[in-house]
């Protein structure tokens, strides 16, 4: 066995992050490592890469026990990790980033040998099948390409174990394929790869074995071929998650929002949207098709250059977000950390932020009132936190998303637009969010849900509108839609462009 982690226990103040967890890795295998957010996957891998020591347990490489007191020692032993956060120097070239800290030098280390840097870097890139020019400044690369550079950096050294922490979370389709090729190539070279991800499809396409962790405890390790989707979900969540679809006939519901011919810049070019109270309208489309931009027009963040909107039969032309909010239109941003939440503030302050005026009398609001209000909404949405006073940034992705939802549900919107409502959220929390969305619609709220994941759209929507090139290319009932029909529409090229 290449790498073995046994009986690993790790306690952080207030939490038992890992409880006798274990994981093993063979040379030349892709081993998917799954579990809900907060299950302890990243913690275990950080222990394996020397970021912090375990409280108990043993790490063995080739059967020999080792102790790492720093990441450098783990690297020396051949364990390399690519974390979600990228650590690149944007103003330097690909080559300089690739060889950082071990650049070839001249004159006994007096200056860098630029030619050699470029040559060595290009060799590494070519060997790994990454079609990138070593001379390009990193700033000109896409996030996905930067991720490639990061991986190349990790495996251009004496790598025996490569740990990838959600490598595809910021990648597009084409980039994913390049990544998968790269992973297979490394595997063929005998590298053992730990692949942490939330995406089922990748796990089944790529991995040889799967290990599942739940609440810091080992659940199972199995050959991928012996597992299927439901079994995996059950293992992660510890219960059955209903993956059911819904079907009401939205056409019979009252129209909540009617937008005609919305135009703004090159992103939105004549979009027509009809949203009914009580339905979930899924919004599909490729990156850059104009999905978020349309949402921003409806929610008053941006103003349309042309077109008109009606809200429950009355003209609706919000000058700003405040006006849209006062008319009951809310927007849950896709950028949870940047725009959705104020991370350093407490859960309670985040939940109450848009509702402060409503909670106040004559602009005065008591902290007790805010705390009660937040507690109520945390309960309704099942936010798991030590209390309303803890900072949002300490919560897991799924719980953060629930806080973001709570914040907007608390204003009792009539129309709510959810932009990527389950991004960075684990399977169990996803199911809960779907349930919440459904419940909202059942309560008569008009829900518009933007998502890049087609299976998710098919599961949660009543109808799905596909956005292509700033317009609605088509609307299909979810019960009749398939991933293929949606993709077809998404690639639709308007004839009157």
């Amino acid at each position: 066995m290449l790498l073995e982690l046994t009986h690993i226990t790790k306690r952080f103040p207030g939490v038992l992050a890992l409880d006798e967890a274990r994981f093993d890795l063979r040379a030349g295998e892709v081993h998917a490592f799954m579990g809900e957010n907060g299950a302890g996957k990243s913690t275990l891998m950080k222990i394996a890469s020397g970021l912090f020591p375990p409280d108990a347990g043993e790490i063995r490489i080739d059967g020999t026990p080792v102790r790492f007191s720093s990441p450098a020692q783990a690297k020396a032993a051949g364990i390399h990790t690519v974390f979600q956060e990228l650590t690149v120097l944007p103003n330097r070239t690909v080559a300089e980033n690739l060889l950082i800290g071990r650049e070839p030098t001249r004159a006994g280390g007096l200056w860098l040998d630029k030619t050699a840097i470029r040559r060595q870097a290009q060799t590494i890139l070519d060997r790994l099948g990454i079609g990138l020019d070593a001379d390009r400044p990193l700033a000109t690369l896409s996030t996905g390409q930067r991720q490639m550079v990061e991986i190349a950096r990790a495996c251009s050294q004496n790598t025996r174990v490569l740990i990838l922490d959600e490598p595809t979370s910021s990648l597009g389709r084409a980039e994913e394929d390049v990544l998968f090729d790269l992973v297979r190539r490394l595997k063929a070279d005998g590298v053992g790869i730990v692949y942490i991800t939330h995406r089922m499809s990748e796990v089944f396409a790529l991995s040889d074995r799967i290990t599942v962790l739940r609440d810091g405890r080992f659940v199972l390790t199995d050959e991928t071929s012996d597992l299927d989707r439901p079994a995996l979900i059950r293992a992660m969540v510890g219960r059955d998650v209903a993956e059911d679809r819904h079907g009401v006939d939205p056409e019979t519901l009252p129209v909540a929002l009617d937008a005609r011919g919305l135009v703004r810049g090159t992103a939105v070019r004549g979009a027509d949207v009809t949203l009914h109270a009580g339905e979930v309208l899924g919004i599909a489309g490729l990156m850059g098709a104009g999905r978020t931009e349309i949402a921003r027009l409806i929610t008053g963040i941006d103003r349309p250059e042309a077109g008109r909107m009606d809200l429950f039969g009355q003209s609706f032309a919000p000058r700003d977000i405040r006006e849209a909010l006062s008319r009951g239109v809310a927007y849950v941003s896709e950028d949870r950390k940047g725009l959705g939440l104020v991370l350093p503030l407490s859960v309670a302050d985040n939940v109450a932020l848009p509702s402060l005026a409503a909670l106040a009398s004559r602009n005065i609001v008591t902290p007790g009132r805010i705390a009660d209000f937040a507690r109520d909404w945390m309960q309704r949405l099942g936010v798991k936190a030590a209390g309303g006073a803890v900072a949002v940034e300490t919560l897991s992705g799924g719980n953060q998303q629930k806080v973001a939802l709570a914040k907007w549900l608390a204003i009792h919107p009539r129309v709510i637009i959810l932009d990527e409502p389950t991004r960075g959220v684990d399977v169990g929390a996803k199911a809960e969010i779907y349930r919440l969305i459904r419940q909202l619609a059942d309560d008569g709220v008009a829900v518009m849900a933007i998502s890049s994941e087609l299976p998710e759209l098919l599961q949660m929507s009543d109808r799905i509108a596909v956005v292509a090139q700033g317009r609605i290319a088509g609307v299909v009932p979810a019960s009749e839609a398939t991933e293929e029909t949606l993709l077809d529409l998404a690639f639709f090229e308007g004839d009157a462009a």
Binding site: P13, L353, V365, E393
Partner: protein, 323 residues
């Protein structure tokens, strides 16, 4: 989920503990130190003078707390206090009744703050540049208005009310500071605009998307700062009995130091009035004690500078888990 951290958790939590303890421990330390080293320090009369003398600093530091909570800074406060004291003295010298002069000064101060705010926020210019400009203008004006000569204040009722007078046994400046603290604390903790400031400071984009009128809140804080600077100028003029250019050379430094020692983040989103109060008290005791011990004024700057750097480094280490 434990977030990735470059620094070990323990180091961060030790730094956090030190940062949180700094104003209180520092205050106790300097009090003990000066009590032991100067026979004049532990004396009721000295203590009263210390409190009255620090009123100017307190008021400005409260305003600075709000400004830094937004992630902004105001470098003009010292110069504007001097300018307003000059204008106040000149208005009274010209025969304006003191209550009117006081009201006028409060108005002018608020307008100066408002100007700082409008240029910073609507011009999208860093506040340290805007207020640096305002500092230069205010300094220049106070020299031009006076021809570099201090203007004496003759109004006895004014001098008595804002320096010597007592109400229920306590000096009036102390009451003014207490009132300002209470109002500011109430504003931050219990009013909608005040509570929204934390979100505006920590993440203005998210605050805007939450329906907070971000720019209005930001500009309001600069105006509040201006009002408090004016109040500080009134107390300062009464204490010195005159208005003179560059009359409070260390005030800006001291006010920022008080907020920083109080553990506020210069990036916005975290600041506390109570901790600023403690930080300001620490600075006030230092000022008082160093004078009692006849420490040269230039050496006083060095001591304060070291304390500021210490506080900033601690704050940086303490937020290591998030950086």
């Amino acid at each position: 989920m434990i977030e990735a951290s470059d620094r070990p958790e323990r180091q961060v939590s030790v730094a956090r503990l030190l940062r949180d303890a700094l104003p209180y421990a520092g205050l106790i330390a300097v009090i003990v130190f000066f009590s032991l080293s100067s026979e004049f320090f532990l004396d009721l009369r000295n203590f009263e003078r210390l409190v009255t003398d620090s009123a100017t600093l307190m008021l400005v530091a409260f305003g600075m707390t709000l400004v830094i909570l937004l992630g902004e800074i105001d470098l003009s406060v010292g110069a504007v206090v001097s300018l307003l004291a000059v204008v106040l003295a000149q208005m009274m010298a010209a025969g304006l009744p003191w209550p009117l002069a006081v009201l006028a000064i409060l108005g002018i101060g608020s307008v100066i703050g408002l100007l700082n705010g409008i240029i910073t926020i609507f011009g999208d210019i860093p506040s340290f540049i805007v207020t640096l400009g305002m500092m230069a203008i205010a300094t220049g004006l106070s020299f031009v208005f006076t021809g570099s000569i201090s203007v004496a204040i003759m109004s006895e009722p004014f001098l008595v009310l804002f320096y010597d007078a007592r109400f229920l046994g306590l000096p009036v400046p102390l009451w003014i500071v207490g009132l300002a603290f209470a109002i500011a604390a109430f504003y931050l903790a219990r009013t909608v605009p005040g509570r929204e400031l934390y979100a505006v400071g920590a993440n203005p984009a998210a605050a805007r998307l939450s329906g907070v009128p971000v720019k209005r809140r930001q500009v309001t804080v600069f105006a509040i700062m201006g009002f408090l600077v004016a109040a500080a100028a009134i107390l300062s003029a009464a204490r010195l009995g005159s208005g003179a250019p560059a009359s409070v050379p260390a005030l800006t430094l001291d006010a920022i130091a008080a907020v920083i020692i109080g553990g506020a983040s210069l990036f916005g989103g975290r600041a506390s009035l109570l901790r600023t109060l403690t930080g300001a008290a620490l600075i006030a005791v230092l000022n008082n004690g160093m004078v009692l011990m006849n420490i040269n004024i230039d050496a006083q700057y060095i001591v304060k500078g070291v304390i500021i750097l210490l506080a900033v480094v601690l704050e940086r280490l303490a937020s290591g888990a998030r950086a």
